[in-house]
C-alpha cells in the first residue's frame, strides 16, 4: 500500500528569482500573496449573524410554503386508473393472452367531475411500475437516427440492441427498446353535462405537447426532396416489432405529425426518471362552448383503444386530467416540505437562542 501515493511531487524550480544578484538576491518578494497576507473576509458563526439568519429562514420558508400551498390548492387534478376499470377489464383479460397482443381492443370508462376545471386542462396518460429508467432500456435508442441522419436511418447504432434490425435484417426505424415499447393506447374524451344532455366530444389539441427543443432540434425526419413522400423516405426500414403502424403513419389526421417528429413519439422518447410517471397526451382546446373556461363539472367518458399491455409487469395505466399553475402540477410535497422546514428551523432557532441566552451570552465560555 506504500506505493499508493507513489513518489511525492518534488520541487519545481521557481526561476523568476534567478536573475537577481546582490546581497539580498534570495530574498522572497514581499507580495501579499507570497506572504499569505491577502486581504480577506473572515466570517464567523456569531450570535448576531446566526440567530437572525435562522429566524429569517424560518419566516422565508413559511412564506414560501404558504404561498405554494395556496397555489397548489388552486390546481385541480383527476386521476383515473383504467387498467381494469369499466369495460376495459375485458381488454385487460384478453391481452393476458399473448396471442392477442396485436389485436386492437376498445373500451370505455366513465367518470364524473364534481367541480369545474378552470383554465387550461391537460390530459395525461400515466404508467405505473414501468421502468423507463433501466440503464439498458434507456440506452437502447439512437439519437442520430432520430435527428434524421440519412446514414443512421439504414444503419442504426449498436446502442439500439436488441432492436437494430428485424429478423430479415431490415433496419428498424426508429430503432431501440424505447421506441419499440411506445405507449399506443389512444383516448377520446366525451362530455355529458347531466345524464340525458347531448354528448360533446371534448376537443384535445394533440400537438405542442413536447418540448420545443425536442420538436425542433432533437427529432427531425430524414431529409427528403419535394417529390418524395414520407413513406418513400422510410423505405428500406421497418417499424419496431411491437408497433401496429409504421412510423410515417403514426398520426393519420395530420400529415406533418408523422415520422420521427410525431409528438407522441417524442413525448415517449423523453424517458421518465422514475417507474411511475405520466405523459402529456393532449391539451383542451378552449375555443368552443362549453369548454371556453375549461372543463365544466359533469359526466365524462373516455373511449380507449386499449393496446398497451401492462399485465406482464404488474403495471397500471391511468388517465390524468389536470390544470397547472406557474408552479406546475398538483404536487403538495414542496409546500408541505417548506412548512415543515419552517417549523424545524424555527424550533432550532429557538433552541439556539436558549443556548446562547444560557451559555453564550456573556461569552464566558470564550475565556481561555
Amino acid at each position: 500500500m506504500q506505493g499508493l501515493l507513489g513518489k511525492p511531487l518534488g520541487r519545481v524550480h521557481w526561476s523568476n528569482k534567478a536573475a537577481k544578484t546582490g546581497p539580498l538576491a534570495h530574498r522572497p518578494d514581499n507580495s501579499a500573496f507570497m506572504q499569505q497576507r491577502l486581504p480577506a473576509w473572515s466570517p464567523m458563526l456569531t450570535t448576531s449573524t446566526v440567530l437572525p439568519f435562522m429566524y429569517c429562514m424560518a419566516v422565508l420558508c413559511l412564506v414560501v410554503g404558504v404561498s405554494l400551498l395556496i397555489t397548489v390548492q388552486g390546481t385541480q387534478e383527476m386521476k383515473l386508473d383504467y387498467t381494469e376499470a369499466g369495460t376495459c377489464n375485458n381488454c385487460f383479460q384478453s391481452l393476458k393472452n399473448v396471442s392477442n397482443a396485436g389485436k386492437s381492443c376498445s373500451c370505455r370508462v366513465v367518470f364524473t367531475l364534481e367541480h369545474e376545471f378552470k383554465g387550461d386542462v391537460f390530459f395525461y396518460y400515466g404508467l405505473q411500475n414501468f421502468h423507463q429508467n433501466l440503464r439498458k432500456y434507456m440506452d437502447s435508442r439512437d439519437d442520430a437516427q432520430m435527428v434524421g441522419r440519412k446514414q443512421n436511418l439504414k444503419n442504426p447504432s449498436s446502442y439500439c440492441e436488441p432492436y437494430i434490425r428485424d429478423e430479415k435484417d431490415v433496419p428498424i426505424a426508429p430503432c431501440g427498446a424505447v421506441a419499440n415499447s411506445m405507449f399506443n393506447d389512444s383516448f377520446a374524451l366525451q362530455y355529458q353535462g347531466q345524464p340525458g344532455d347531448p354528448i360533446n366530444t371534448v376537443p384535445l389539441y394533440r400537438k405542442g405537447i413536447a418540448w420545443y427543443t425536442d420538436e425542433n432540434v432533437k427529432f427531425r425526419n430524414p431529409p427528403k426532396n419535394k417529390s418524395q413522400t414520407l413513406a418513400q423516405v422510410f423505405e428500406g426500414t421497418t417499424s419496431p416489432p411491437y408497433w401496429q403502424k409504421p412510423v410515417y403513419l403514426l398520426d393519420p389526421l395530420d400529415a406533418t405529425n408523422n415520422g420521427f417528429i410525431n409528438e407522441d413519439l417524442i413525448v415517449w422518447m423523453r424517458e421518465a426518471a422514475f417507474p411511475n410517471f405520466k405523459k402529456l397526451y393532449g391539451v383542451l382546446v378552449r375555443t368552443q362552448e362549453p369548454f371556453t373556461n375549461g372543463l365544466p363539472a359533469g359526466n365524462y367518458s373516455i373511449d380507449i383503444v386499449y393496446n398497451f399491455p401492462v399485465q406482464y409487469f404488474k403495471g397500471r395505466k391511468q388517465v390524468v386530467l389536470s390544470t397547472v399553475t406557474w408552479f406546475g402540477g398538483q404536487n403538495r410535497f414542496l409546500p408541505i416540505a417548506y412548512l415543515v422546514t419552517s417549523g424545524l428551523v424555527f424550533i432550532i432557532a429557538i433552541f439556539l437562542t436558549v443556548i446562547w441566552w444560557k451559555f453564550g451570552k456573556d461569552a464566558k465560555n470564550m475565556n481561555e
Binding site: M1, L4, L5, L45, F130, V147, R270, F313, V324, M366
Partner: protein
C-alpha cells in the same frame, strides 16, 4: 556501472596501479562520470508510464477503464475515466520530466567540471567524467573533491587537510606518502566511515584506513593543494553508493489516508454487493416480467445480471475511492511548501538564506509536532564565543546584557582584531595606565593556551584555536595589548603593550576533564619564573593562597553574576616560582614523562604539587552566543505543549549552561536531575529515584498501551502513556549514562522519567545515540518528532525523526542536505511550526474532510437512485457532470480553501501557541472524523436525492409538459448537489480572499456555462450521441419549482451544519473559536516585542563550561607542528579574531565515537 554489471564475478578486491592507465584498463573500473537522471528522450514515455501505472491509484483507474470497455458492464462512457486519468498522468509526467531535466543539467555540469590530472608526468586539465581510477589528481583550495581519493600529499604541515564535507565534517591528519605504487582495497561500498586497503610502495606495504581517504562530495578547505589517487570513480564513489536509497518519509495522514482508502474499497464492495443482491431480487421479481420491453441478452439470468451489476456499480461508485485526492493532496502540499520558501519572516538577510522546504510531502506533519530534538552548537547557539566580561582584582568590567554602552576603541593597538567588540572603556584605560593586575591578567591570557598563531603578512594574525573559548580569550588579550604572535616548542613570543617579549615555555600542564584547568610555566626575559593557571573556579579556588581570601569573595560574587547571565567562566591565577624548586620539578617531570608505567598518575601528582598556593587574578566570562530569539522561541514552543530535548555532543557543564541561558533550565524549577552514573545499575537507580521524586504514586511498571495500526492492522504499536507530575523538573543525562539507559531493559525507564520532565538535556551523546533517543520517543510515544541540527553529527537524528530540520548557512551542509526543511536561524522554527505547520495541518484536514464529504455525497445519491431504477446501474447525473465534477466544478474552490485558509492570521497564531495543540492530538482528521464525514454525506445525499424526487414526483412544467423525465431530473439532482457542496465549502472556509471568491463563484458560473453549452443545439448536432441532453437546461432551469427544490435542498443541507457548529461554539468552544472570538473583539496584536532576557539571580555555584579537549598541550610542545611549515602568503583563511568559530575541532569527537 553497466560494465560492472556485465562482469561475471562480483568485484571482491580492487587492485589499482597508481598513475598507470594502461594497466588499470583491463579491470574496467567505472570512470568518474555520474548519471543521476532516470530517462532519456526515448525512454521517457514508456518508462514513466510504466512507473506511474505501478501506483495503485493509477492501476485502479486502469482496471476501471478496462471494465468500462466491456459493454455488458460499462455503465459510464469511457471518457468519465479517461479524462481524469489523462490529466493525472500528464501532470505527473510533466513534473517527472522537469525533475529529470534538472538532473540531466546538474549531471552535465558536474561531469564537465575540470580538474588537474597528472598524466605523463605533467598536469593536464581534464573533465571530471574523463578521470579514471588510478589517476593522480591535484586539488586546490575550495575545490570539490573529484572522486574518492587516497590522499598522497598536501601543502599543509603534518599533511593536514582541512575539508568541508557534505558527508562528514572534520579534519583528518594524514601522513605523507609517495605517488607511485599499487593499491589494493575493498570493492566499492556505501560505508562512509570505513576504508580498508593496503598501499605497496617500493616493496613496502602500508595499511590504509579511512583517515587517508578524501571522499567525493567534500570540499577542500584551507589547504592550498593536495594530490590524491583516484580509488573509486563516479558511480562507485561512496557518496553515490550511499545516496539514492533515501527512505521516503510519510506523514501520519498519509498512513491514515491509505487505511481509509482501503476501508473505502471495502465499503465500495459492500455497497456494490448490496446493489447486486438488489439487482438479483429485482430481476427475479420485476425484470423477468419486463423482458417484453427489454429482452435480456442471451445467457443472462438474474444471477449473472447481478454479477454484471456488481461491476457496473463498481464503475459508477468509483468516486468514493478518490483518485484525484492524491493529486490534490500533492498540489496542496506543494503550495504550502512554497509558502515556506517564500516567507520573508523566515529569510535571514545576513547570509541571504531563505527558508527552504526541501521535502514537499510532510507539511501537515509540521502542525503535529510533539517532541523537538535539538542540537546545541550551531543550532541554539551561534557557535561564536565572545569575551564579554571579566573580573580583575575584585572589580568587574564589561557590559551587562541589555545595557547600552559604547564600544571600546582599539585603534591605538595596531595588532588589534577589528572584529573584537568590548563595551567597557574603563578596562582599556586601566590596562593602558599600566595597572599591574590587569596587565598580568591579559599576560596570562596571552601565554596560557594552546592556540597556534599564523601570521601571513606582518601584523595580520590568525589564531587557530582548538576550542573557541580559548580563541576568544587569546583574542581579547590581543586587543588589550598583549598580542600572542608566535610560538616554538620552547618559547612564546608576545607583544606586551607594543613591546616584543619572548617567554621561555618550560612546561604545559595540559587540560583534562578531571583537572579542569591548564597551566603553563614560563620564564620571562627578566628571568622570572611564573606559573599561569586558568580553570574552573571551583578547582582553582581549592588551590589558592590563603591571602586571596577577600579577593576570592568578591570574585565569587562576580562569577555568580556571570553564571546567572549564562556566561562561561574561568578563574585565572598565577604563581611565582623559584629557580631551585623549578629545576627540581622539571627533572622529576622529565622522569615521569619517560616513565614506562604510571606515567599519567605521576604527572598528575606533579601537576597537583606545583599548582597550589596560587594567587587569584580574576575571572573571565565568555559568552557562548545564543542565536537571536532562542529563549523566546523555546518559551513559545513550550507553551504550544511541545517538549524540547537538547541532544548535544558538548560536555555536561556547557550543555547545562546553555540550558540556563535559553531558559530551558530555570532556577525556579522544582528539581534538576542529573544522571551521570557509570554503570547500568547506577543509571537505573538514578532514573528511578528521579521518577519517584516526581511522581511517587506511579506504578513501577510503565503503562504500555498496545494497539494495532496501519494497513490490515499489521503494525503493532506500543505507547507509553504520559504521566502527570506536579512541579517542573528537568533531566540532564550524560552520554555514558545514556548508553546504558538506551539498553533494552532501561529504555522505558528513561522514557518515562524523561517524559515527566519539562526539559531534557542529553550531553556527550554520539550521533548514533541521538538517533536512538529519537527512535525511542518515536516508537513508544507514537508522537510526531522533529529533529533540528546543523552538523554532520545531527544527520542521523535528522533522518530518524519524522521531520528533520537543518540550520543552513553554517559550515558543512550535510545536515541541510539530509533535512526536510532548512532555514538559517533556530527562531524560525517557531514560525515554521506555529504558523506554517499549523496552517498546513488545518488546511490538509479541512481539505480531506471536505473532499471525502463531497465525493461521498456525490456517490450516495447514486446508491439511493438504484432503488428506483431496478438496480440497473443507471447514473443519477449526466455522464459529463460525473466526468467534470471532481476535475472542474469542485476542484478549484477546494484547492482555494486548502491553499489560502487561515483560522487566524500569523500574528495571532504565534501569539497563541495553544492553537497548536489540536494538531498534536490529531483532532482535525482521524478515523472518527472520517466516519462523521460519511454520516454527514449520508444525510446530505438523502436530502439531495429524496427532496428532488418527492418535489418532482408527478408534477409537470408550468405549461403542462414533461419535467420528471430522466434528463431533467439528472440536471436537477446535479445542480442541487453542486450548490449544496459549494455551500458546505463556504461554511468551511474561514478566510475568504478574492481568489476564494473567484474560485467559488467562477466554478458555479462555469458549471452553468458548461452545462448550457453542452446541452445546446450546436453540441448536439455536432456530437449527437455524446451530448444527448439537448435543451434540458433551458427547459427545466426556467421552472420555478426546480429552483424552489434547489433552495429547499440547500437550506436543509446547510442549516443543520450551521446550527450544530453554532451550538458547539456556544457550549464547547475550541481554542480556535476562542481566539477567533478574541480577534473579532481586539485589534491586531502588536508584533511581540523583543524582550531583553530577564536578569536572573543565580545561586549556581559555577558557570564553568570550558569546551576544551585534552592532548593539545602535548602537540604544541612536541614541535611536530613546525615541520615543513610553509611560509607562503595566503589570504583565504579569514577566520579567527574576536569571533572564533568552533566546528573545526569539535567533530573530532564524533569521528572517534562513531
Amino acid at each position: 556501472s553497466l560494465f560492472m554489471m556485465s562482469l561475471p564475478v562480483q568485484e571482491e578486491e580492487r587492485y589499482i596501479h597508481a598513475n598507470n592507465r594502461p594497466l588499470n584498463l583491463p579491470y574496467q573500473y567505472a570512470d568518474n562520470a555520474i548519471r543521476t537522471s532516470k530517462y532519456n528522450v526515448f525512454s521517457f514515455l514508456p518508462l514513466n508510464l510504466f512507473e506511474q501505472f505501478q501506483r495503485l491509484a493509477n492501476a485502479y483507474f486502469l482496471v476501471l477503464l478496462i471494465l468500462q470497455l466491456i459493454p455488458e458492464i460499462s455503465s459510464l462512457s469511457w471518457f468519465t475515466t479517461v479524462v481524469p486519468l489523462l490529466l493525472v498522468l500528464t501532470m505527473t509526467a510533466v513534473k517527472d520530466a522537469s525533475d529529470d531535466i534538472n538532473r540531466h543539467r546538474s549531471d552535465k555540469q558536474v561531469n564537465n567540471r575540470r580538474v588537474d590530472v597528472l598524466i605523463d608526468g605533467e598536469l593536464r586539465s581534464e573533465k571530471w567524467m574523463n578521470v579514471q581510477v588510478g589517476d593522480v589528481i591535484k586539488l586546490e583550495n575550495n575545490q570539490f573533491v573529484t572522486a574518492d581519493l587516497l590522499l598522497l600529499t598536501s601543502s599543509e604541515p603534518l599533511n593536514l587537510v582541512y575539508i568541508e564535507t557534505a558527508e562528514l565534517d572534520g579534519t583528518f591528519i594524514l601522513k605523507c606518502v609517495f605517488p607511485t605504487g599499487e593499491v589494493r582495497c575493498e570493492p566499492p561500498n556505501n560505508r562512509l566511515d570505513k576504508f580498508k586497503g593496503t598501499l605497496t610502495v617500493n616493496g613496502q606495504t602500508y595499511a590504509l584506513d579511512n583517515d587517508k581517504v578524501l571522499l567525493r562530495g567534500c570540499t577542500l578547505r584551507n589547504t592550498e593543494w593536495c594530490f590524491g589517487l583516484v580509488v573509486f570513480g563516479g558511480p562507485d564513489t561512496k557518496l553515490m553508493q550511499s545516496s539514492g536509497k533515501t527512505v521516503f518519509k510519510r506523514t501520519s495522514i498519509d498512513g491514515l489516508m491509505n487505511v481509509l482508502v482501503l476501508c473505502i474499497f471495502g465499503f465500495l464492495a459492500v455497497m456494490c454487493s448490496i446493489l447486486a443482491v438488489g439487482n438479483a431480487i429485482w430481476e427475479v421479481r420485476e425484470g423477468s416480467v419486463f423482458i417484453a420491453f427489454l429482452p435480456r441478452p442471451n445467457g443472462v439470468n438474474a444471477g449473472f445480471s447481478a454479477f454484471l451489476t456488481f461491476w457496473s456499480y463498481v464503475i459508477i461508485l468509483n468516486t468514493v475511492v478518490p483518485i484525484s485526492l492524491y493529486v490534490s493532496v500533492e498540489i496542496i502540499r506543494l503550495g504550502n511548501s512554497f509558502y515556506i520558501d517564500w516567507d520573508r519572516k523566515m529569510y535571514y538577510p545576513k547570509s541571504d538564506t531563505p527558508a527552504q522546504a526541501r521535502t514537499t510531502t510532510l507539511n501537515e506533519e509540521l502542525g503535529q509536532i510533539k517532541y523537538i530534538f535539538s542540537d546545541k552548537t550551531g543550532t541554539l547557539t551561534q557557535n561564536i564565543m565572545t569575551f564579554n566580561k571579566c573580573s580583575i582584582n575584585g572589580k568587574s568590567y564589561g557590559r551587562s546584557i541589555g545595557e547600552k554602552t559604547q564600544t571600546v576603541d582599539f585603534t591605538w593597538n595596531e595588532l588589534a582584531d577589528p572584529k573584537f567588540v568590548f563595551h567597557d572603556p574603563s578596562l582599556v584605560e586601566l590596562v593602558r595606565e599600566g595597572d599591574l593586575a590587569a596587565q598580568h591578567f591579559f599576560r596570562l591570557l596571552a601565554l596560557c593556551h594552546t592556540v597556534m598563531p599564523e601570521e601571513k603578512t606582518e601584523g595580520e594574525l590568525y589564531y587557530q584555536a582548538q576550542s573557541p573559548d580559548e580563541g576568544a580569550l587569546v583574542t581579547a588579550a590581543r586587543n588589550f595589548g598583549f598580542v600572542f604572535r608566535s610560538r616554538t616548542p620552547e618559547s612564546i613570543r608576545i607583544m606586551e603593550m607594543g613591546q616584543e617579549v619572548t617567554y621561555d615555555l618550560l612546561a604545559v600542564l595540559d587540560f583534562n576533564n578531571v583537572r579542569k584547568r591548564m597551566s603553563v610555566i614560563v620564564r620571562s626575559p627578566k628571568g622570572k619564573l611564573i606559573l599561569f593557571c586558568k580553570g574552573a573556579d571551583t578547582i582553582v579556588y581549592e588551590r589558592l593562597h590563603p591571602s586571596c581570601l577577600k579577593l576570592k569573595d568578591t570574585t565569587t560574587s562576580h562569577l555568580n553574576e556571570y553564571a546567572g547571565d549564562g556566561l562561561r567562566t574561568l578563574a585565572l591565577a598565577y604563581k611565582d616560582l623559584d629557580d631551585d624548586y623549578m629545576e627540581d620539578w622539571r627533572r622529576r617531570h622529565h622522569e615521569a614523562n619517560i616513565a614506562m608505567d604510571g606515567k599519567e598518575e605521576r604527572l598528575d601528582e606533579l601537576y597537583e604539587e606545583i599548582e597550589k598556593d596560587l594567587m587569584l587574578l580574576g575571572a573571565t566570562a565568555v559568552e557562548d552566543k545564543l542565536q537571536d530569539g532562542v529563549p523566546q522561541t523555546i518559551e513559545q514552543l513550550a507553551k504550544a505543549d511541545i517538549k524540547i530535548w537538547v541532544l548535544t555532543g558538548d560536555k555536561q557543564e556547557t550543555a547545562e549552561n546553555i540550558g540556563y541561558a535559553c531558559n530551558m533550565l530555570r532556577e525556579d524549577m522544582t528539581e534538576v536531575f542529573i544522571v551521570a552514573a557509570n554503570t547500568a545499575e547506577g543509571v537505573r537507580e538514578e532514573l528511578e529515584k528521579a521518577r519517584r521524586t516526581m511522581c511517587p504514586d506511579a506504578p513501577d511498571k510503565p503503562v504500555v498501551v498496545e494497539a494495532r495500526a496501519g494497513l490490515f492492522w499489521r503494525q503493532k504499536t506500543r505507547k507509553v502513556e504520559d504521566e502527570a507530575v506536579n512541579g517542573e523538573y528537568a533531566l540532564v543525562i550524560n552520554g555514558h549514562s545514556l548508553a546504558y539507559a538506551l539498553e533494552k531493559d532501561l529504555e522505558l525507564e528513561l522514557l518515562r522519567t524523561a517524559c515527566m520532565c519539562q526539559t531534557v538535556i542529553c550531553c556527550r551523546v554520539t550521533p548514533l545515540q541521538k538517533a536512538q533517543v529519537v527512535e525511542l520517543v518515536k516508537h513508544y510515544k507514537q508522537a510526531v518528532t522533529l529533529a533540528i541540527g546543523d552538523g554532520a553529527n545531527d544527520v542521523s537524528m535528522i533522518k530518524a525523526a519524522h521531520i528533520g530540520v537543518g540550520i543552513s548557512g553554517q559550515e558543512g551542509m550535510q545536515a541541510v542536505l539530509s533535512s526536510d526543511y532548512s532555514f538559517a536561524q533556530f527562531r524560525y522554527l517557531q514560525r515554521l511550526l506555529l504558523v506554517h505547520g499549523r496552517w498546513s495541518y488545518l488546511r490538509m484536514c479541512k481539505f480531506l474532510r471536505y473532499f471525502f464529504y463531497k465525493n461521498f455525497t456525490f456517490t450516495f445519491v447514486h446508491f439511493w437512485y438504484a432503488f428506483f431504477c431496478g438496480f440497473s446501474a443507471q447514473t443519477v447525473y449526466d455522464e459529463w457532470f460525473i466526468t467534470l465534477y471532481n476535475l472542474v466544478y469542485t476542484a478549484l474552490p477546494v484547492l482555494g480553501m486548502s491553499l489560502f485558509d487561515q483560522d487566524v492570521n500569523d500574528r495571532w497564531s504565534s501569539q497563541h501557541p495553544q492553537l497548536y495543540s489540536p494538531g498534536q492530538l490529531n483532532l482535525y482528521f482521524s478515523k472518527k472524523a472520517f466516519v462523521r464525514c460519511m454520516m454527514h454525506s449520508c444525510y446530505s445525499s438523502l436530502i439531495l436525492f429524496f427532496i428532488p424526487w418527492a418535489a418532482m414526483y408527478d408534477t409537470v412544467r408550468d405549461d403542462g409538459k414533461d419535467i420528471v423525465d430522466y434528463q431533467s431530473f439528472a440536471l436537477l439532482a446535479q445542480t442541487c448537489l453542486l450548490i449544496a457542496v459549494t455551500i458546505q465549502l463556504s461554511l468551511d472556509t474561514h478566510y475568504w480572499t478574492a481568489v476564494n471568491q473567484f474560485f467559488v463563484w467562477g466554478s458555479l458560473s462555469a458549471y452553468f456555462a458548461i452545462t448550457f453549452t453542452m446541452y445546446s443545439n450546436g453540441m448536439f448536432l455536432i456530437f449527437t450521441s455524446t451530448f444527448p441532453f439537448i435543451g434540458t437546461a433551458r427547459n427545466s432551469l426556467n421552472q420555478p419549482n426546480v429552483w424552489l427544490t434547489i433552495l429547499l435542498t440547500s437550506i436543509l443541507c446547510a442549516l443543520p451544519v450551521v446550527a450544530y457548529r453554532f451550538t458547539l461554539i456556544q457550549l464547547w468552544p475550541t481554542i480556535n473559536d476562542k481566539v477567533r472570538h478574541k480577534v473579532r473583539k481586539e485589534a491586531l496584536p502588536a508584533p511581540a516585542p523583543r524582550r531583553p532576557p530577564v536578569r536572573r539571580i543565580s545561586t549556581r555555584r559555577s558557570g564553568y563550561a570550558f569546551s576544551h579537549a585534552q592532548g593539545y598541550g602535548e602537540l604544541v610542545t612536541s614541535g611536530r607542528f613546525l615541520l615543513r611549515r610553509p611560509q607562503k602568503i595566503r589570504t583565504d583563511r579569514g577566520r579567527g579574531g574576536g569571533e572564533v568559530r568552533r566546528k573545526q575541532s569539535a567533530p573530532k569527537v564524533w569521528m572517534r565515537s562513531r
